[in-house]
Amino acid sequence: MGLSTDGQALDPRTAPEFQTAARSVLNDAQLRKNVRHATTVIQNKRAKVVGELPDWQELREAGGALREHTMKFLDAYLEQFEANCTRAGGVVHWARDAAEAREIVVRLAKESIGDAPSEVIKIKSMTTEEIGLNAALQEAGITPYETDLAELIIQLGKDQPSHIVVPALHKNRAQIREIFQREMHLPHLGETPQDLADAARSFLREKFLRVPTAVSGANFLVAETGGVCIVESEGNGRMCLTLPRTLITIAGIDKVVPRFADLEVLLQVLPRSATGERMNPYNSIWTGVHPGDGPEQFHVVLMDNGRTDVLADEHGRETLHCIRCGACQNACPVYRQTGGHAYGSVYAGPIGAILTPQLQKMEHAESLPYASSLCGACYEVCPVKINIPEVLVHLRSRVVERKTAGLRVLTNAEALAMKTAGSLFRSERRFRAAQRLARMGQGVLARKDGSGEKWISWLPGLLGGWTQVRDLHALPDETFRQWWEEREKSKKHAGGAA
């Protein structure tokens, strides 16, 4: 089993280390099979539609430059957005952290609901997952209904999202059918995709027509117009944006773009990277309120929740360029093995490994920057060219700084080993001595195999992880430099004798 997170929120402050969480996920063959299958399908779709564009690399460049520029003048663009959104009839709220954001959204929802039944409909939003909004709404007596098909699966299955675009990626169709049968009370539900979609549609349609308050996230906030943009595949988001009386949008301050025309670049790279589509089936952009058309009240909550701290780190700030396409998750060979839950955060995979610890001011999630082989596949697919491996390595140095501060280095086995190795490499003499010692020291560990070669199949301590599934060729009798020196001597000798 172990297929659901038992409703436990993904909280980086309390999550186990990645290594520990990964160990238990790796035992879940069904989950791994689902993740392998889904990421492979999306990757192939992405490769096909990206391959169609002769100017893909230029688009990535433009996307990266656009995001970099925006972050440089983020304060100005946010104020511009606030002014234009307000002018169009929206109400802008500012939230310093998750608690403030939850408090604002709950208050606005309560005001909107009034005496009506206490419920809201929701568009898929990772930002609301980041702040645990559903739990806060429930605590306040408000029932949130997720309307994105994948989020609905997660909610009904008392699970947690494992991917930023495809939150139920770790579930297969049979598992989804079981959840629907159980939670929607449909014992005779069929098993085709059509059957499942029909069940979700009937379940949701009734809520769209009944519930007058909606909560959404945002893909982009346009400073120039005060408009908000959401792209999606199902049209359920469009229902939430148009039918309710009140719409409450919550967005990280990183979601702003300067001009309407900037969407030209972002709406090309986002769908191709995210779902392997040339264009999203539903692209909604709305600006303020319009009498007789759509919600009568529109609120935007602009949330910091650690983003300003990310911006302050010169080497880490490009993390905020992310447009949440999830391409890095699909491309990552580590995510491919573990899926998203092992990262202990709603932001999983390579982007999560750099975003989560920074949002936590490096006080939590310290194992995440190490949850990568630095293979670079994430950087290669990133539509805004975030150099994720570079940021990972930078964050590793921040982790090391914390754990080796003062005398702490003396109680840390890894730090001690690295300091020792550093001192060996600073001196050729010490390095040679270490090579000699290692050769002598391996004596008890090296054993001859069937062909007479010496191999090591057990190593102690930190290196034990290596020999769990791998052997190690015993150190050869002679290093390269010894061979070279002997050869030079012989050459000299031969030359002298001639």
Binding site: Q19, A22, R23, L26, R32, P333, V334, Q337, T338, P369, Y370, S372, S373, L374, C375, G376, A377, E380, R396, R398, V399, V400, A415, M418, K419, G422, L424, F425, R426, E428, F431, D449, G450, W455, S457, L462, G464, G465, W466, Q468, V469, R470, L472, H473, L475, P476, D477, E478, T479, F480, R481, Q482, W483, W484, E485, R487, K491, A494, G495, A498
Partner: protein, 270 residues
């Protein structure tokens, strides 16, 4: 050409046969090979694990050892990636400390002559056929740092295709990481092993006798599983395949290290 070898710390200690093969190929092509004796490590392990201040201290030694080199050739894609990606900013930090005046200029002058071994052959010398003979089925593991870090593209495989007698089979999912990742292999041993299992499946599916690469660190990891499972499939650095010749069979001797000096100044492989 005067070619200086940067053997790298792990190849020096664990894979001397790769260095010997590289010397053999370079000399066979008529180059003069040098080995600056004071060299140790590029600093990659420290840098990538987060010990960047320790990595910094290794850069001045590298500069001092290879100052004035005509070409520096390195049998490791990841070490060369480390140098290209990080040495410029490391040099700036060192220069800013005031203790190493001029190191930025020195690094900038040195980096353009640093080549990964296959890259030196294909891009600097413009060669594909280096006169090798290797009558075996081989599959090539591209290594993330070779593929994405250095952008080697088809270079290494073009060298292998030109080897006489070789049966080169493409490795499935050639762009996917094998799971080594330096200290990742021990810090996240289980995930690394899961990634390795897929790579080994790919290698076995080709029916190859040998899995080759331009990086012995990936190969040490892949070889570790191939040996643990007693598959009988071996790993070889590209240089070792390129060093192989029809008569006598060099490959076997390169691996066993039985090299003696003959009575002329040329080294004879017996």
């Amino acid at each position: 050409m005067r070619v200086s070898i940067f053997i790298t710390c792990y190849n020096d200690t664990l894979f001397p046969q790769t260095g010997r093969a590289m010397v053999h190929v370079l000399e066979r092509l008529g180059h003069h090979v040098e080995f600056p004796a004071g060299q140790t490590c590029c600093g990659q392990m420290h840098y990538n694990t987060g010990y960047q201040t320790d990595a910094l201290t290794m850069l001045p030694r590298f500069v001092e050892q290879f100052r004035g080199a005509e070409a520096v050739v390195v049998p490791s894609t990841s070490c060369v990636t480390m140098m290209r990606d990080h040495y410029p900013s490391m040099a700036q930090r060192l220069e800013a400390s005031g203790k190493y005046p001029g190191i930025v200029a020195e690094v900038n002058a040195l980096l353009p002559v640093v080549f990964e071994f296959s890259e030196f052959l294909t891009k600097r010398l413009g060669l594909t056929d280096v006169g090798a003979y290797f009558p075996h089925r081989v599959t090539y593991h591209a290594s993330c740092h070779g593929l994405r870090g250095l952008g080697l593209g088809d270079g290494p495989e073009s060298l292998l295709r030109a080897v006489k007698g070789i049966d080169l089979v493409t490795l499935p999912d050639i762009e996917r990481c094998c799971g080594f990742g330096g200290t990742f292999a021990v810090k996240n041993a289980e995930v690394s092993s899961a990634m390795l299992a897929e790579k080994v499946q790919g290698v076995l599916s080709t029916g190859a006798e040998v899995c080759a690469a331009c990086d012995n660190s990936c190969l040490m990891h892949i070889e570790g599983a191939l040996h643990r499972q007693r598959t009988g499939v071996h790993t070889m650095h590209l240089a070792e395949i390129l060093a192989s010749e029809p008569e006598p069979n060099i490959a076997a001797e390169v691996r066993s290290g039985d090299v003696v000096a003959g009575d002329s100044e040329a080294v004879v492989w017996v």
